[in-house]
């Protein structure tokens, strides 16, 4: 295999960009050319994955300890601020590009089947390709501004894809909500960038991380502020408290979009950011504690909400929020490899879960469409007993459920366990971490419970879909089931990526990432605990998971469910959970309404109408007319008046000349 120079790494993001351009043109000119769109859309992703794989192999062969930075052109030469457009290939970005292109390619294949009947087919693939492009820029960027371009770009594509069926207001609103909430986080990112530049004088990753230990006083106010602002950006992009509210609404978009953007890639950008800036977070104990704490709290909080959601995608959305919390606990504790490991395994099983639910929804849609029914195809109360109609989906989703619950030997077990282990270890040094660990453990219990609940209501028990619909339920075509199988394999085998020494493994991922995370680890070393404690933790975690599954199996009665249209409304504590702890309503009352009032009453009525229109625009006209009126009054046509003016002028000149 010829070894291309690694400076050609730009090919990896360029391929999806090309796909976007071609598909975009097709979307505008020939929306009906579905075959061409599919080939281009999927093809560019597959090629990108191949290129990424080649690049990573080549990179690995070089055994580089420092990142390889490739500068392509001078993007912002502004005096002291020099920002080249540069891409960086190091161990961390290598992992990320493989995940993005690999899982992305699988989802593209799935979309061919899922979106086949949609009139916006070409537009969909154009946006999806654009998204992958921006995500690759994000993870390959060699400096904060380049990463920010990707950051903003994926936010844009998220908006476009969530509101893909924009003809319905609820979808458009969801897109808007995602973008606006994201923006609040972006403000944090920007402020952090300004502060970093102010102190360090550069925004390149290499320069910043090299100078950081010297430039910032450890645990000082400035570095804490920077890390907190960066984390604000992460809460927006990765849907943590307090900016997570957009993610459940984002489920309005097509299911493959939810799989790609809101499970596997975009929402992980925040985790990537913290891992990338590990040096900065290691210098600020308060910053990293905040990251871990918010992550742990979010993990539990979201899990509680997922307990009482009826829409299958909503459950998965809150599950994503919760799992992201785990990842933040990992990177906040300084266990960067563990966090990234969970990022990877989560990408596998969450994408599998989403695509599986897409397969379910697809079948339900087909059924309802055939009988012209208007029931909700995504409500679990309308499902039930689908195992006999969708056997492949059924088995694969159970694999994913076991993985997410943390049952060995599936992928999720290893990654989740490592995070909890690291948290517990840190707790021996910093007691606050005991709380985080406990929150994480409780969240694990709930995770197992609600995922089992999802499986029970969807696939087990009697079928509630309806007599006539039942005959239309069947498995999805291979274009959709194929990727599911691949993801299933990855879910099962993914644990092998980073088997810890405890089980006799060599922790491959951790060693691979060492050149990147090593600096941060040296600044804030991870704590080791004796093997016995580790075994105890592992066994404890598995027991908790099994408790959750068993509890769900015992306590829940799918037979007692009724179809959605007949279901009684929730009441009591269940109602609070179902209403998501009323957080959306709270935000609406505290933020949205006052701002809208301000905009309407003050900014519109007073500033715009009175000041801008009245004073500045009309006022200018009035003044001009007045001046004109004065001028016209002077032109009387009478010589006498002119002479008076003349004499006045002469006097003035005399006075001036004689001073």
């Amino acid at each position: 295999m010829p070894a291309l120079p690694l400076s050609m790494i730009w090919v990896v993001p360029a391929l999806p960009l090309l796909g976007f351009l071609v598909n975009g043109t097709l979307a505008l000119a020939r929306p009906g050319a579905k075959r061409a769109v599919s080939i281009v859309g999927v093809g560019t992703l597959v090629l990108a994955f191949a290129a990424a794989a080649l690049a990573v192999v080549e990179f690995g062969a070089q055994h580089a300890t420092a990142p390889l930075v490739f500068r392509y052109w001078d993007w912002i030469p502004a005096g002291e601020l020099q920002v080249p457009f540069a891409l960086q290939l190091d161990q961390l970005s290598a992992v990320m590009i493989l995940i993005v292109t690999g899982v992305g390619a699988l989802i593209h294949v799935f979309s061919v089947g899922y979106m086949h009947d949609d009139p916006g087919y070409a537009r969909y693939f154009a946006y999806l390709n654009l998204f992958v492009f921006f995500m690759l820029i994000l993870v390959l960027g060699a400096s904060f501004p380049v990463m920010f371009v990707g950051w903003e770009g994926v936010g844009l594509c998220s908006y476009l894809l969530i509101g893909f069926w924009f003809n319905e207001k609820i979808n458009a609103d969801a897109g808007k909500k995602a973008f606006i909430v994201n923006r609040i986080g972006d403000f944090g990112f920007l402020v952090a960038m300004f502060l970093i530049f102010w102190r360090v004088g550069s925004l390149d990753f290499a320069a910043v991380f090299a100078k950081a230990p010297a430039a910032f006083a450890p645990a000082g106010a400035l570095i804490t502020a920077i890390t907190l602002f960066l984390f604000l950006g992460c809460t927006g992009k990765s849907a943590q408290i307090p900016l997570y509210t957009w993610l459940p609404d984002a489920m309005q978009g097509p299911t493959p979009v939810s799989a790609l953007i809101h499970a596997a890639t975009m929402v992980t950008a925040g985790v990537y950011l913290v891992a990338r800036c590990g040096v900065l977070f290691a210098l600020s104990p308060i910053g990293s504690a905040t990251v871990a704490g918010v992550g742990a709290l979010t993990a539990l909080f979201a899990a509680t909400i997922a307990l009482k959601q009826w829409d299958i995608k909503r459950v998965l959305a809150y599950s994503t929020v919760s799992q992201l919390g785990y990842m933040f606990v990992g990177v906040g504790t300084g266990a960067y490899a563990a966090g990234i490991f969970h990022l990877a395994t989560h990408a596998f099983f969450k994408a599998l879960l989403f695509l599986g639910s897409g397969s379910v929804i697809h079948a339900m849609h087909r059924a309802y469409h055939a009988t012209h029914s208007h029931e909700d195809a995504q409500d679990m109360r309308n499902m039930g007993g689908l195992a006999r109609y969708l056997p492949w989906t059924f088995s694969l989703m159970w694999i994913a459920t076991l993985a997410i619950a943390g049952i060995p030997p599936f992928a999720g077990f290893f990654s989740k366990d490592e995070i909890l282990g690291a948290a517990f270890a840190e707790a021996t040094v910093r007691p606050a971490w005991y709380v985080f660990w406990a929150l994480g453990l409780a969240a694990a219990l709930l995770t197992a419970f609600y995922m089992t609940r999802l499986m029970l209501y969807t696939f087990h028990g009697p079928n509630r879909t309806g007599e006539r619909e039942r005959e239309h339920l069947h498995e999805a075509p291979w274009s959709m089931t194929g990727p599911l199988v691949v993801l299933g394999v990855l879910t099962v085998a993914g644990g092998a990526l980073n088997v810890p020494p405890l089980f006799g493994g060599v922790a491959s991922l951790e060693r691979w990432l060492e050149p990147v995370t090593g600096v941060a680890s040296r600044l804030s070393p991870l704590v080791e605990v004796p093997h016995a404690t580790e075994w105890a933790l592992v066994v404890g975690a598995v027991l908790v998971a099994m408790l959750g599954i068993a509890g769900a199996l015992r306590l829940l009665r799918p037979e007692t469910l009724v179809p959605a249209r007949l279901a009684p409304p929730e009441s009591g504590f269940g109602r609070i959970l179902w209403k998501k702890w009323y957080v959306d309503e709270l935000y609406d009352a505290v933020f949205v309404r006052p701002i809208m009032w301000l905009s309407r009453e003050v900014l519109w009525k007073i500033v715009d109408v009175r000041i801008v229109d009245g004073l500045l625009v009309d006022g200018t006209a009035v003044v001009t007319r007045a001046l004109g009126w004065i001028g016209s009054r002077l032109q009387t046509g009478e010589v006498g008046v002119y002479v008076v003016g003349f004499v006045v002028g002469v006097l003035a000149v005399l006075v001036a000349a004689l001073r």
Binding site: S632, Q635, G637, E638, V639, G640, V643, V647
Partner: protein, 98 residues
């Protein structure tokens, strides 16, 4: 030798001319007041020419020539206006009103 009083007279005459221009309505009388002003200026020039050379008197010469020309043309214009408007009251002659 008579510089100071001459300049004084000149100033006063000029002022009278201005007052006349401002205060009279009849066009011809206004014209005459302009002539007064011109004469006042002539007086100044001549007074100063005593010391500063003959150039002053030469200027007076030219001023008189120009005044003659101006008087001729001006009166011709007044004639033409009078034929149209039958009045020389300047307040009524406002064709240029804008």
């Amino acid at each position: 030798m008579l510089l100071a009083p001459a300049l004084f007279v000149s100033a006063v005459l000029f002022t009278f001319g201005v007052a006349g221009v401002l205060l009279r309505r009849n066009a011809i009388v206004i014209f005459m007041c302009v002539e007064i002003m011109l004469n006042a200026v002539n007086l100044t020039f001549v007074a100063l020419a005593q010391q500063l050379g003959v150039a002053g008197q030469i200027i007076v010469f030219f001023v008189m020539a120009v005044a003659a020309a101006e008087a001729a043309v001006g009166l011709a214009i007044l004639l033409a206006i009078f034929r149209h408007r039958q009045t020389l009251n300047l307040q009524n002659i406002n064709l240029l009103k804008g």
